[in-house]
């Protein structure tokens, strides 16, 4: 059995290394001094970061992507939390089945979603607009928020809400004073998921973004089709850093929550 365990551990270490290498390899590549991609890089420099920061096109696309990610995550969180609260409190089977509709953006292949959104926007004049981009990403972020908040609400004891309301607090205040503080971690993790999903979204952006409102991912995709430019490595490193920061924030907020409930 001992040798079996060693074999298993070796296998898993190899698989994990294979998972991590492509993510990690980008970082040294982005600090390469060479135009071509060699590993290890023949010299080190920050020229690709400078190229990125000095290019007005990349900067505009970054501004679009960040604005888009922040606003669509915020809107999706408010809408998704309200919907999850309603789904959780309703006893009607019919209402609970509506959850399937809210999950659709995750189930439908993304190209079909993109074609559909394009079709709608072409008819109402929302193509290549910020509003259009934000709305589409709100839709794509909703399933993450709803799932995450529902998990939080199921752990929450509804008796507390009843007590608070029987003591005369209205529903809205009860939600903000009693319910929300206890499901905070799930709401935050839904928010961050929606943020990352909007920041990384590429396919829908390929169809509906354009002109002044081109997302970072659309520009990257177009650039990658033409040539492997090391500037992309610099941008990729920055995007990955943002994602990792989000993971850390999610786990910190989850940890704070467990700590608090352990004290209570």
């Amino acid at each position: 059995m001992k040798s079996g365990k060693i074999l298993l551990v070796t296998l898993v270490v190899l698989i994990l290394a294979w998972l991590m290498i492509p993510v990690v390899i980008i970082v040294p590549m982005s600090f390469s001094g060479a135009r071509f991609l060699a590993f290890p890089p023949p010299s080190w420099s920050t020229r690709w970061y400078e190229a990125y920061l000095a290019n007005p096109g990349w900067m505009q696309a970054t501004r679009v992507s960040l604005t888009l990610a922040v606003s669509s995550a915020a809107i999706a969180t408010v809408m998704g939390t309200a919907a999850a609260y309603a789904l959780n409190m309703s006893t009607s089977k019919w209402v609970r089945n509506l959850q399937v509709i809210l999950m659709l953006p995750l189930v439908v292949p993304i190209v079909i979603t993109a074609v559909g959104v394009f079709l709608v926007y072409a008819n109402v004049g929302l193509l290549a607009t910020m509003t259009g981009l934000i709305l589409a990403n709100v839709m794509l972020g909703l399933p993450y928020v709803v799932t995450s908040v529902l998990v939080g609400l199921r752990k929450f004891d509804p008796v507390q809400e009843m007590v608070s309301r029987s003591l005369g607090m209205n529903r809205l205040r009860t939600f903000f004073v009693v319910v929300l503080p206890q499901i905070r971690a799930s709401v935050i993790s839904g928010l961050l998921f929606a943020f990352i999903s909007a920041l990384d979204e590429t396919v829908v952006a390929l169809f509906i973004s354009g002109g002044q409102y081109q997302t970072l991912t659309k520009r990257m995709f177009t650039a990658l089709r033409d040539e492997i430019d090391p500037t992309i490595a610099a941008i990729s490193t920055l995007l990955t850093a943002v994602s990792f920061l989000m993971v850390i924030l999610v786990s910190l907020s989850a940890r704070a929550e467990t700590k608090k409930s352990a004290e209570a």
Binding site: M1, L8, L11, V12, L19, M20, P22, V23, I25, I26, M29, F39, M79, G80, A82, A86, L87, M89, S90, S92, V95, L98, V100, I101, L102, L104, P105, V107, V108, P109, I110, V111, I112, T113, A114, V115, G116, V117, L119, V120, L135, M139, L142, D200, T202, V203, F207, T217, M220, F221, L224, I228, A233, S236, L239, T240, S243, F244, M246, V247
Partner: protein, 290 residues
């Protein structure tokens, strides 16, 4: 009480229902307007031509080789990717579920971190690693294993490797969630009754972990069917998946009828797979497992 007076519990109930609908309305209307309505629109478009009803767009499935090739290649890739993620994901989840809290957290962190990295970034990384003068070819020729660089990318191989890499976390997470719930007492009982470790694994642990395997397989298979970015960047024009067929028909040919009918067929495949899987395990479990 007279029959005309309003029953207070009734009034309360209808107020509750109104509130429920009000809270659900914004989220539902976004999804309905941007997804449900266009899907119905696609169905409509797929049976229309020159202002009349037609099944011509669907008939093309019967005689157009390009359609067949795309669906065949997509399903082949989906099968290979699903099989590979089970084989690679199972040992990882197994070790994570059987380890101390610290070790299992470390393993899961290494699974989740790539999961949070943009698909575009990971496709780019594989391009760097696998291209003609990329790292893998460089290392292999330095070691003297090969004389000429291998063609690892701009083909189906590169697409499959990157897709497995992107989807492996979707397999590991539901597997881990299921395995974690298997009581240790069961395997210990099996061992104390004289079963060899292999025997206990095959007869006790493996069957109990199957719901997780099914959930992971469904997720990975369905997600692969819709892959677009990866084959587009790593397929080098030789990999032609259904999603690319859809986008080509719109971008290049402006053929909305064709794009719609392909979309509807792909969507029906996805729904059918979910339906089949829900006969084995509840739908919520597939979606919630992530």
């Amino acid at each position: 009480m007279s029959s005309t007076s309003i029953d207070p519990s009734r009034a309360h109930e209808s107020r509750e229902r109104r509130l429920t609908l009000m809270l659900l309305a914004p989220a539902l209307s976004v999804v309905v307007a941007l997804l449900v309505v266009p899907l119905c629109w696609l169905v409509w478009q797929s049976v229309r031509q020159d202002g009349g009803f037609t099944l011509a767009h669907y008939a093309r499935f019967l005689h157009d080789d390009v359609y067949w090739m795309a669906f065949l290649q997509t399903f082949r890739i989906a099968f290979v990717v699903t099989a590979a993620t089970v084989l690679l994901g199972y040992p990882v989840a197994y070790l994570a579920a059987g380890s101390s809290r610290r070790t299992s957290l470390l393993i899961l962190a290494m699974v989740v971190l790539p999961f949070w990295t943009s698909v575009l970034v990971r496709a780019y990384a594989w391009l760097i690693l696998l291209q003609r003068r990329g790292l893998v070819n460089g290392a292999l020729s330095d070691l003297g294993v090969i004389d000429h660089p291998l063609i690892l990318v701009n083909n189906e191989f590169g697409t499959v490797i990157a897709t497995i890499h992107i989807l492996l976390p979707f397999m590991v997470l539901p597997l881990y969630a299921t395995m974690q719930k298997i009581p240790r007492e069961l395997t210990m009982a099996g061992a104390s009754l004289g079963g060899t470790p292999l025997h206990v694994f095959l007869r006790v642990f493996l069957p109990l972990s199957l719901p997780g395997v099914v959930a992971g397989m469904v997720l990975v298979f369905v997600l692969t069917l819709g892959f677009y970015i990866t084959p587009e960047l790593l397929g080098g024009g030789r990999t032609y998946m259904v999603s690319m067929l859809v986008s080509r028909n719109i971008e290049l040919y402006n053929e909305w009828g064709a794009a719609s009918s392909i979309s509807i067929v792909l969507l029906l495949c996805v729904f059918a797979i979910f339906r089949l899987a829900s006969l084995l395990i509840p739908f919520e479990r597939i979606m919630g497992a992530r």
